[in-house]
Symmetry: C2
DNA sequence: CAAATAATTTACCAAACGGTCAAATAATTC
DNA sequence: GAATTATTTGACCGTTTGGTAAATTATTTG
């Protein structure tokens, strides 16, 4: 009979509630109920609602990032890298849509502000590091002549991240069709990457 | 000395606050203060916070939609239609970014649910009508052989709406570059449409 | 097994919030 | 100008919320 990990139960419950209602409309009572504890216990493990949300946010982006990029390091052929990236993403969305929801449901509000200086600064930093990862991948493609040299790295990264955020609401078949359009726009052949 | 339109003042203040903080974190006290009235007065003009938000939401989508589609009716050459659409959009974002913010900051939470049945049903209906408009435009392009016949209307509409939503946060130069990528992906020549 | 420590719950708090209603003020009507 | 109507405000309400502290229970340690 395995021992309960209460802190993790609370965090998982929090992720589910934040993903469903967004941060502002989520109550600690809801989270506690879902975790099967009383609300005050949340404060034994987490100093505040916000810090709970920060951990949920960071873990979610970590999870997405690890899934997308972890296995690309083994790959040296750029097209194969992209293949793994998009395949990995499609699979990820199917089983972990909640992650995309947690990020997207609050992303615009969080990202609408300066790099730091307010309560959302750390949240923005984390998301920006994710964007940076995508930019690096695009830069790599340009260096390897697999992508047009005149394509804007930043704009492409932003578009890809935005497309990925659509995983919060869209069906996989729609996502695949959208990815096809974007890949074409990046001067790639969708058929070689998606199937 | 023109007469004050208090109801409109309240609605405009509400739009600004909702666009900045999102619905859930916006308080009627904040809105009243911004409008220069006392909170109770909001209830003289609007039955509830939610109905105030619904009006702000609908007016914002109306404004976006009118700006995008109003002048396309005069145009019969499809490429010129698109030119007007994207030009109009870029100009709109420059002067009315608050509209995009108001929609995007709450869109994922609102759209994450069935067509009707809950408090957000009417909000979804309105946004879906906007999506429908984009779909019709794409269908028109396919009929006129200006777009590939095998392109998915739904996926393309969703991608375009998502791209437009990026106007909430992105600079115009980034938006233009993103539009280029998408237009290429739609088998169009960006230079003929953007400049 | 008792003491110490960790985990959990109960009970409570102040502040905040959407909303209500009567009173006050302003504008309009005759 | 008085009466009526419209608009605005002040005062208040009940509920909810993030959070706190003490009490209780469970687990660990020696």
């Amino acid at each position: 009979m395995s021992k309960r990990d209460t802190k993790r139960d609370i965090l998982q419950a929090a992720k589910a509630v934040f993903a469903s209602k967004g941060y502002e409309a989520s109550t600690l009572e809801d989270i506690a109920e879902k975790a099967g504890v009383r609300k005050a216990l949340i404060f034994y493990y987490y100093p505040s609602k916000e810090s709970l949300f920060l951990e949920a946010w960071n873990e979610s982006i970590d999870e997405l990032e690890n899934t997308l990029f972890r296995e690309l390091a083994d790959e040296s052929v750029y097209i194969r890298k992209l293949k793994k990236l998009f395949r990995g993403y499609i699979d990820f969305v199917m089983s972990r849509r909640e992650v995309m929801k947690l990020i997207e449901i609050d992303r615009v509000r969080i990202m609408d502000g300066p790099q730091d200086g307010d309560e959302w600064g750390r949240f923005r930093l984390r998301y920006n590091r994710f964007l940076q990862k995508i930019e690096e991948l695009i830069e790599e493609g340009k260096e390897k002549k697999a992508l047009p040299s005149d394509i804007s790295t930043k704009a492409t990264a932003k578009l890809l991240a935005q497309m990925m955020g659509m995983g919060a609401l869209e069906e996989n078949i729609t996502l695949e069709r959208i990815i096809r359009i974007i890949l074409s726009g990046m001067a790639l052949e969708p058929e070689r990457i998606l199937l």
